[in-house]
């Protein structure tokens, strides 16, 4: 029996143990991605072993709930339990993975829960895809479960006051008899992404979405550091140019999002009103590109100092937006997710210290080049009110 990789994040101070599952969605068609949304909702509701009420009671003392979120490249399933209930947590994890309730009735319930929900504008600027679940059937969800939720495909993360050997033993004991359904045959799917062009609210969001690059890209350090230089803090360029100089916005940022084959930089700002948005986003791009000429050594060292605070000291200003709600926080849940996601995405351990060391030799010229490449090649992304 193959066991999924299990990432451990040790946090002796945490009052909860958190369980994270990352299911990569590379290669999934738009139609199957819509089905994955329903699959996540069903898996995060109840299982053959635990009713919805029992699940809610198990997680209730953690200040967290069992939930699934779909982002640009993965499905995240997440819950936490108070430390004293760790064994219940392991059992619930095993049940969610092996015995989710995907019956007709459960899928009907999942669809009913999802249909009235709307994405926030800040979700849409990171991932403007609109999911159509109106034609999803239980058999579609069961098929996708058989394809996606397999030990060789998923990555598990467990964080909190845990001992690595205990984690391995607990997971192995509960997943060693996982009976896997046969992988269904593939079929032709020519569905297309549907993209939103509206925030669904009273303000606009204007963004620049950069080209995708792989985790093995030799320029990754410069590109990631460019996200810190452009977007992290009030000394960052988007704050200084878009907010302070141009008075375009109160909220603006530059972050790193997942793409099906790697990562992208993404910069955006929120703006009241709806007039001349195309011109505004181009003016914003032009001003930001022009500002790069003024970048000095102090901008590079500031970016590295901020990266050090985010990566090593947990400053809640992360540019990593690998979930639909925006940047990851410093919570034990998000830290465990980040470590799990990184392993699933790159096949390597998340090592913030090593990543910081890769930032330090990045020269100012390379940093400017990475930022220039992003800004000049980025596609505009406009969401109207």
């Amino acid at each position: 029996m193959i066991l999924p990789p299990v990432v451990k994040l040790l946090d002796p101070q945490s009052p909860v143990v958190t369980f994270q599952v990352v299911v990569p969605l590379q290669g999934l068609s738009p139609a199957d991605t819509d089905i994955a949304l329903v699959l996540g909702q069903a898996m995060a509701t109840q299982t053959d072993d635990y009713t919805v009420g029992r699940v809610r009671t198990i997680v209730s003392g953690s200040g967290d709930d069992l939930h699934a979120t779909l982002s640009t490249d993965s499905l995240r399933i997440s819950f936490s339990v108070p430390t004293v209930d760790i064994n219940l947590g392991y059992s619930l994890l095993a049940s969610v993975l092996q015995h989710p309730d995907l019956s007709d009735e459960a899928i009907k319930g999942a669809l009913g829960a999802l249909k009235p929900r709307v994405s926030t504008p800040f979700q849409l600027i990171l991932d403007p895809r609109v999911h159509d679940i109106s034609v999803v059937k239980a058999k579609d969800v069961q098929r996708l479960y058989a394809i996606l939720v397999r030990p060789e495909r998923i990555t598990i993360g467990i964080g909190g006051p845990v001992t690595p050997t205990d984690v391995d033993e607990a997971v192995s004991t509960r997943l060693k008899d996982w009976t896997l359904p046969r992988v269904p045959a593939s079929y032709a799917d020519h569905s297309q992404d549907r993209l939103s062009s509206s925030t669904g609210t009273t303000f606009s969001l204007l963004g620049l979405t950069g080209p995708s690059f792989k985790g093995s890209d030799p320029g990754l350090a410069a590109k990631f550091l460019a996200a810190f230089a452009l977007g992290c803090g009030k000394g960052a360029s988007v704050f200084k140019i878009w907010r302070e100089s141009l008075h375009l916005s109160y909220l603006q940022t530059c972050g790193i999002v997942g793409s099906p084959d790697g990562f992208r930089l993404n910069a955006w700002f929120a703006r009241e009103g709806s007039d001349g948005l195309t011109d505004q986003v181009e003016a914003a791009r032009k001003a930001l590109v022009a500002s790069l000429d003024g970048w000095a050594e102090a901008d590079r060292t500031r970016a590295i100092a901020m990266a050090e605070s985010v990566l090593l000291r947990g400053l809640d200003l992360s540019p990593f937006s690998f979930q639909p709600y925006g940047p990851l926080s410093n919570s034990v849940q998000d830290r465990t997710f980040l470590a799990t996601y990184w392993r699933a995405k790159t096949g390597t351990d998340w090592d913030p210290r090593a990543l910081l060391e890769r930032f330090k030799p990045v020269q100012l010229t390379d940093l400017k080049a990475a930022a220039t490449e992003f800004l000049t090649q980025a596609k505009p992304n406009i969401l109207h009110p």
Binding site: D65, Y250, M306
Partner: protein
């Protein structure tokens, strides 16, 4: 001096020190130092109570404007100095206080205190600086979260002028003058209104000495201005410029068992209806709990009151959820310091432990009172 401060910040944990030390100075300001040797950063929070400086319909948002201008610093460049070493400043205008928070690497306590000292002097404000800040505030108000809009409508419905949204009204903000802001600063940042909290890997005595030296320089008397107490005059229905809907429930002080039980009932509702939010900011005064949804457009607020009767059987889960909620507010040194400071600036005896006690000990009777309170809460209907 600088090397002494650095040494204090990096001192090893002494044996037999209390968890925290609160010092009330003769000018009425308060210093609280709470060592957290496991923390990787120092956090310095400066809270200024809104007692005597509350927003009024005429000055709605001036406190928020003042916050924006103050954090630029007297000499300017506060953010540049902080971020050069990986530090960061956040500020927030709340109903009960203005909060300025610095997060710094452990060896940068001196820089943090230097910046706090700057915040304790009124910045140079001109008509021009106000004019430049108004468009930014306008953008901030435009993107206010839908959950906040629903909750703010509830504040207005229950507390009228005493529940004004701290973000403010752009038209009123644009009318502020340098003189009016000077007057506001003097009332808002007078010594008896101030609490300084230092936490992180720092020596208790050394941190207290530095904090008290800084705050003792402020002129003042220990007499606290009297604020205007909030009294709820609930309306049954109210509209909000937001999607979705909510029930807003006026509650008593944060340490009341019924308040804790009401919070528990709302958390039960949210756990039964994923996508719902609950907001509550602990206050020593009358406050407001909001439960609602801005993202589930089919769930009317009235479902909350209809469901409330079924919640009695979920009493145990309600307590666990309330414990979990409190646990999240106290999850790390930074968040627990913030809550402690926010309560302390309202009353010298208000502590998170009192909130914890209310959560641990509310009874089924309190919980039923919470259910009744929800049924009588104000229905806020989003109108878009």
């Amino acid at each position: 001096m600088l090397s002494l401060i650095a040494a204090l910040a990096l001192a090893p944990p002494p044996i037999d020190q209390p968890a925290r030390l609160r010092t009330i100075l003769s000018n009425g300001s308060v210093v609280l130092v709470e060592p957290h040797f496991e923390a990787k950063s120092i956090t310095i929070d400066l809270f200024a109570s809104s007692r005597g400086a509350e927003d009024s319909p005429k000055s709605h948002g001036w406190r928020h404007l003042l916050e924006h201008l103050l954090v630029r610093g007297r000499k300017g460049g506060v953010d540049a100095r902080l971020e050069a070493v990986g530090g960061f400043l956040r500020a927030e205008t709340l109903r009960d206080a203005t909060a300025i928070e610095l997060e710094l690497p452990p060896d940068q306590l001196a820089l943090g205190l230097e910046i706090v000292a700057e915040m304790l002097h009124y910045p140079e404000v001109t008509a021009e600086t106000i004019k430049n800040e108004v468009p930014i505030l306008k953008e901030e108000i435009a993107i206010e979260a839908d959950s906040a809009r629903l909750a703010n409508a509830g504040w207005t419905a229950n507390y009228a002028a005493l529940g004004l949204d701290p973000l403010g009204d752009v038209a009123r903000i644009a009318e502020a003058t340098p003189e009016a802001l000077t007057d506001l600063y003097i009332r808002h940042f007078r010594a008896p209104n101030l609490v300084l909290v230092i936490s992180g890997p720092i020596d208790l005595d050394g941190g207290t000495k530095l904090g008290t030296e800084l705050m003792a320089r402020l002129p003042g008397s220990p007499v606290r201005l009297k604020g205007t107490p909030r009294v709820a005059h609930p309306q049954s229905k109210f509209d909000a410029s937001a999607p979705g809907s909510a029930i807003t429930i006026p509650v008593g002080p944060f340490d009341s068992r019924v308040t804790a039980a009401t919070l528990a009932v709302t958390l039960v509702f949210a756990s039964e209806h994923p996508g719902c939010f609950v907001t509550y900011t602990p206050s020593t005064q009358a406050g407001l709990i909001t439960v609602g949804t801005a993202t589930n457009r089919d769930l009317p607020a009235l479902a909350i009151t209809a469901d409330a009767d079924t919640f009695e059987s979920l009493f145990d889960r309600g307590r666990r959820l309330a414990q979990g909620w409190l646990g999240r507010q106290m999850t790390d040194a930074r968040s627990s310091t913030f809550l402690r400071g926010l309560l302390l600036v309202q009353s010298a005896n208000a502590t998170p432990e009192k909130l914890e006690e209310a959560v641990q000990h509310f009874t089924l009777e309190d919980y039923r009172a919470g259910i009744d309170a929800i049924k009588q809460g104000t229905v806020v209907r989003g109108n878009r």
